[in-house]
């Protein structure tokens, strides 16, 4: 049977859960597996309960499984919370003597003296988490060399001594598990050979996409779950002259982006719903002044501060409509890590081509998960700056009109100091030259111009992902990060003899009216699946296409959809 194995690593914040899951995931990728790592942590720095799910499979996966094959418990709470999810043949790895309370006995408990091995072999009892990873690699009969390589890369910056300590700790765990549990019927995960894949988070993909697209200015105010986009570019951007300015607030960050973009630099900010609230005023300004602007909106549950470290899709309508004055803006919604990269590149191109703000909407689930993807082929990344005025043209340009009324609605764009022409624009309604006006006629022409420029936008959008199954009884519809769970739910249903088609949107505006209408003609019973309490996509679909969803499957507990959850909810609805 094809390998598809799920681990949960659980403990307190500060015990290195994130690092352990990353090392395990990367080690599994190096042996040719597809990996997904999701983090579940509380809004605190120490204590509490944190855990990560690591799933590895032979095929590409983008959703977590509800069933745990191996539970790595660094505290008793991990066992209490997750024992119900254990597969019948599942195993628990723990340092029994160190677990303060909780159920820690049973045939499936593998007791390893993690702290003792860490202290004796690694030289530091804090390395018990690394001993654990070594034990897991031993338990599943995997290649220790791959783990040793990853440890070298991860700890190399701390010096050879640290690397050797960690490798020794890991080897101690590996050998302990190999010697003591050789007789256990544990899952076997044999290396499948080298891989060309890469593994990164959604945020890293967005940050890389921005850099590749030629983003030259980033400003932001830290907010979960998009802070790491700002941090990544702040760190790596130094080599490529991409300044990241930490602004005093999100109002400033968004207006900085407008200022930089007006001056001619590709510019971006990243935030979450609360920060986006402060940015919508500038979004409206960007629409009025026709300034290209990319805003990454990583959603988390609200209203207000909500659940800061968890996931939701409740800012869809806010992204579509936020901002005064009634203006449209493209809203792109990547369904996974690879799409997060490519749609970020697209967001910059669209922003400049249509001289508009563009929102890239993600959520905690996508932002923070690690997933294996095909290496991005940078030869395919194109920078399209839209209708610009060349330096030669600018040199002889007279009477330049920044907001020239054209048939397409798009005005050729010159930049300040490109030539001697002046670039004038205004948040007040303005004429073609950019000067303030009051008259009704100019106002009307300008509104129509700004609307008209989106007439051909749909041509630049990617088709939604559509999987039509013959004789399908219904269509599962979703958007953004839930793609992996929905796709897999349809596969599970298919295995159960229930045919379901899948329609997944990677853009909310412009809404793919034709594609949705066509897909639903195939199988009209629509189940709209989304992580919010108000059924925002279902309402949008009805507004845009007139098609009413048959049912909505909603989840708003701050946790991600799993394929099994969707299957169970659906069966309940149709039975």
């Amino acid at each position: 049977m094809a390998v598809d194995i799920s681990f949960v690593v659980g403990g307190e914040a500060g015990q290195g859960i994130q690092s352990m899951s990353f090392v395990l995931g990367k080690t599994l990728m190096r042996g040719g597996y597809e990996v997904l790592i999701t983090q579940d942590f509380e809004s605190r720095i120490r204590g509490g309960h944190s855990f990560a799910r690591v799933r590895a499979a032979e095929r590409h996966i983008q959703a977590t499984s509800e069933k745990i094959d191996i539970l790595i418990a660094l505290n008793a709470e991990t066992i209490d919370l997750h024992k119900g999810e254990m597969d019948a043949a599942g195993l628990v790895i723990c340092d029994r003597g160190k677990l303060k309370t909780g159920d820690k006995n049973g045939d499936n408990f593998l007791d390893i003296p993690l702290e003792r091995l860490a202290a004796e072999k690694g030289g530091d009892r804090l390395m018990s988490n690394i001993v654990t990873i070594g034990a897991v690699v031993g338990l599943i009969n995997y290649d220790f060399g791959l783990l040793a390589d990853v440890l070298g890369e991860e700890f190399g910056r701390h010096g050879d001594k640290t690397v050797e300590g960690n490798r020794a700790a890991a080897r101690a765990g590996y050998e302990y598990a190999s010697q003591h549990f050789a007789d256990r019927t544990s899952p076997r995960v044999a290396p499948r050979g080298p891989t060309e894949k890469i593994m990164m988070t959604g945020n890293e993909a967005v940050a890389l996409g921005a850099m590749v697209a030629g983003c030259k200015f980033v400003s932001g105010y830290p907010m979960t779950p998009t802070t790491s986009i700002l941090e990544y570019i702040a760190e790596k951007g130094r080599r490529f002259n991409i300044p990241v300015v930490q602004a005093e607030d999100e109002i400033s960050a968004a207006n900085m982006v407008v200022g930089a973009a007006y001056a001619g630099a590709r510019a971006m900010t990243a935030t979450s719903g609360g920060g986006f609230c402060l940015m919508v005023e500038a979004l409206s300004l960007a629409a009025m002044t026709e300034t290209p602007m990319v805003v990454v909106l990583g959603q988390r549950p609200g209203p207000a501060i909500g659940l800061p470290t968890r996931t939701e899709q409740s800012d869809l309508e806010f992204a579509l409509y936020g901002g005064h004055g009634g203006f449209r803006r493209p809203v792109l919604a990547p369904s996974g890590v690879a799409e997060a990269f490519w749609l970020t590149v697209k967001a910059f191109n669209i922003a400049e081509k249509y001289q508009t703000p563009v929102i890239l909407i993600t959520d905690h689930d996508l932002a923070d998960c690690y997933n294996t993807v095909e290496r991005f082929d940078l030869k395919k990344a194109k920078v399209d700056r839209g209708q610009t005025i060349s330096d030669e043209e600018a040199a002889s340009l007279t009477n330049y009109k920044r907001h020239l009324i054209t048939e397409s609605g798009i005005s050729p764009r010159a930049l300040p100091m490109q030539g001697n022409s002046l670039v004038v624009t205004d948040s007040d309604e303005h004429d073609e030259e950019g000067h303030m006006i009051e008259d009704a006629e100019t106002r009307t022409r300008m509104v129509l111009k700004r609307q008209r420029k989106f007439d051909r936008l749909q041509d630049d959008m990617d088709e939604p992902t559509i999987t039509l199954r013959p004789n399908s009884e219904f269509t599962l519809i979703g958007w953004g990060s839930t793609y992996g769970a929905i796709k897999e739910a349809a596969e599970l249903l298919e295995a159960d003899g229930i045919a379901a088609s899948v329609l997944h949107l990677n853009a909310l505006w412009p809404f793919p009216v034709d594609a949705v209408t066509r897909a639903l003609a195939h199988s009209p019973k629509a189940f709209v699946i989304e992580s919010n309490a108000t059924g925002q996509l279902a309402r949008l679909m009805r507004a845009e296409t007139g098609i009413k969803a048959h049912k909505s499957i909603l989840k708003f507990d701050g946790r991600s959809f799993s394929p099994q959850y969707i299957v169970n909810s659906l069966k309940k609805e149709v039975s």
Binding site: I198, M199, M200, E204, L208, V212, A213, G214, K216, F217, S219, K236, R238, F240, N241, P243, V245, A247, E248, D249, I251, S252, A253, N255, M256, V258, G259, A260, Y262, A263, G264, A265, A267, E281, A282, L285, T289, R375, F376, L378, K379, A381, K382, V383, A395, S396, P416, M417, G419, N420, S421, L422, V423, T425, D426, S427, D428, G434, H435, M436
Partner: protein, 291 residues
């Protein structure tokens, strides 16, 4: 085409836009002073970016010749900051009224003064909200009654003291009624390497009948003529910035030449970011890190 040898004249800054200020507005004096300063600095209109906010001062850039980004209320500073960072060759001047600078945009002002980007910030302070027809503003004198403050203004900010506290690298005050002096201050501010705040006392003949042209004229005195005043003495500058009432100082109040934010970001003296071309292939090495 204009060649470098052509001298910049005041006519080069003449605008064709119809002016929407009241007759007698202090803004006219500020506009003349600004043009005079730009001509004396021999800056060409295309080299200048003015980023303004909302209020009567927000219209200012439309009444001369330059690149214009008329921003939202209170937000010119962030946009001006970023424009300067991505194109260090631009002469960036942000323009606000008292509501824009000290009310709506107060947080940006505090941090911009501290950040020290090389730009000039002109604040037209007429001590009243004129565009919205006469409400109190952060610098309205205590007790001044308005439609929205029938019991009289309750707060009265001393923004230049705030500027000194924030170590703003150049803090000056001018008077719209003394164009020569104001033009000199604007020139100094533009030449100054760093964030230069120039507050301008501006009579509003329509909504402020207390702080009139005559009222200011009787009170202002020039610090440049005070022999023993040293604008580099922060303590003295703080006291001077608090002085308000019978005597109001104008001129350079505080100066502290210190490193620019652009230096910290590493954009000083390089090709402006707006002219850099990106080759996507240069990022292959970053992708390697995810193998």
């Amino acid at each position: 085409m204009v060649t470098a040898s052509d001298k910049v004249k005041v006519e080069d800054y003449a605008s064709t836009s119809a002016v929407a200020w009241c007759p007698g507005c202090g803004n006219f004096g500020i506009l003349r002073a600004m043009k005079k300063a730009l001509v004396e600095l021999q800056l060409r209109p295309h080299q200048v970016l003015m980023v303004s906010g909302i209020g009567q001062a927000g219209k200012f850039p439309h009444y001369l010749q330059c690149n214009v980004l008329n921003e939202l209320h209170g937000r010119p500073i962030p946009a001006a900051t970023a424009a300067k960072i991505v194109n260090t060759e631009l002469t960036v001047i942000a323009i606000s009224g008292d509501g824009d600078a000290y009310g709506e945009g107060g947080n940006h002002l505090v941090h911009a003064m501290n950040r020290n980007v090389d730009m000039t910030y002109m604040v037209h302070n007429n001590q009243v909200y004129a565009l919205t027809r006469g409400q109190a503003c952060p610098t309205t004198d205590l007790g001044f009654t308005t439609t929205m403050n029938p019991n009289g203004a309750w707060v009265s900010l001393r923004p230049l003291a705030l500027a000194v506290a924030c170590d703003c690298s150049f803090v000056a005050r001018g008077f719209a009624g003394d164009g020569e002096h104001l033009a000199m201050l604007i020139q100094m501010a533009i030449r100054h390497k760093g964030f230069a705040l120039v507050e301008v006392l501006q009579p509003c003949p329509t909504f402020n009948h207390r702080n009139t042209f005559q009222w200011y004229s009787q009170r202002v005195y020039k610090l440049d003529e005070a022999k023993d005043y040293d604008p580099k003495d922060r303590g003295a500058a703080f006291n001077k910035a608090l002085e308000w009432g019978d005597r109001i100082p104008i001129g350079l109040i505080y100066r502290n030449d210190r490193p620019l934010f652009e230096d910290y970001l590493g954009v000083t003296g390089k090709v402006p970011l707006v002219r850099e071309k990106t080759d996507p292939l240069q990022f292959e090495s970053l992708i390697d890190e995810f193998k």
